[in-house]
């Protein structure tokens, strides 16, 4: 095979790989989009954690409690939306991540959440910490299972 034929074969091979890659990954998130989504999840979860720790350290009748609830509810909804978008094509990962998100959700908004007559509950803060980091670890683990395009 001449040098010219080798170059042509390599070019055709590259072109075929590129087309197959584009076909296989059409509609899916690029690496930078995935990284952006993961960053958004991480930052939002840490915000919820901070808000929730403040919330569960004060009385339900405290004037800031309802505002904290609104902020927590909004951010939890946002995280759920990103999770769906990110893992929509990977049903096993989506189920695993949503299960851990539900555990975090239960730790943050369960029990006497929303009750005006509740008192501070420091045990719940421990539960929030545990489920928060467990959830983030699951997100990272499932991120590694996302298919990666050959060409970035």
């Amino acid at each position: 095979m001449s040098f010219f034929e080798t170059v042509i074969a390599a070019a055709i091979g590259f072109l075929i790989a590129r087309i197959l890659d584009a076909f296989a990954f059409r509609g899916r998130s690029s690496v930078s989009q995935v990284d952006y989504d993961i960053k958004e999840i991480r930052e939002s979860i840490f915000e919820i954690r901070t808000l929730a720790n403040t919330y569960w350290a004060i009385d339900g009748s405290d004037e800031s409690a309802k505002k904290l609830e609104a902020s927590i509810n909004g951010r939890l909804s946002y995280v759920g939306t990103i999770i769906r978008h990110l893992f929509d094509s990977q049903s096993a990962s989506l189920k695993a991540v949503e299960t851990d998100l539900n555990r975090f959700h239960e730790a943050v908004t369960g029990g006497k959440y929303g009750q005006l007559n509740r008192t501070p509950d420091l045990n719940r803060i421990a539960s929030i910490e545990m489920t928060c980091f467990s959830f983030l670890h699951k997100v990272e683990k499932c991120k590694r299972k996302l298919p990666k395009p050959l060409f970035v």
């Binding site: 539900n102 908004t109 369960g110 006497k112 959440y113 009750q115």
Partner: protein, 107 residues
Amino acid sequence: MNTIEIAKEFSPYPGGRYPEDGPANGTDFRNRHLVPVLKAHQKAQVLLDGALGYPSSFLEEAFGGLVRAGYTAKQIKETFDIKTNDPTLERFLVLIQQYIDGAKAKQ
């Protein structure tokens, strides 16, 4: 079959367990929308669409509270077809089933 659209017929911002916690609490939702269906021996679809989200305490009081009110988990599951067309709200279907089954275990 009747459809109970939580966001339209009750509140797009459900929250709290008891009436003193606010107008969109779980007890009021249960007593106004779920218990009458069970009492009439009818069936209903419960649609989660349109709400921002559902705090666990609201869901537990609304659905787990039915078990504490004397209805069995089997009755509740046969009476209500709980659905959503919004993929981001699907995870709440799992939580609701857990609260119905969890409240049953307390009996």
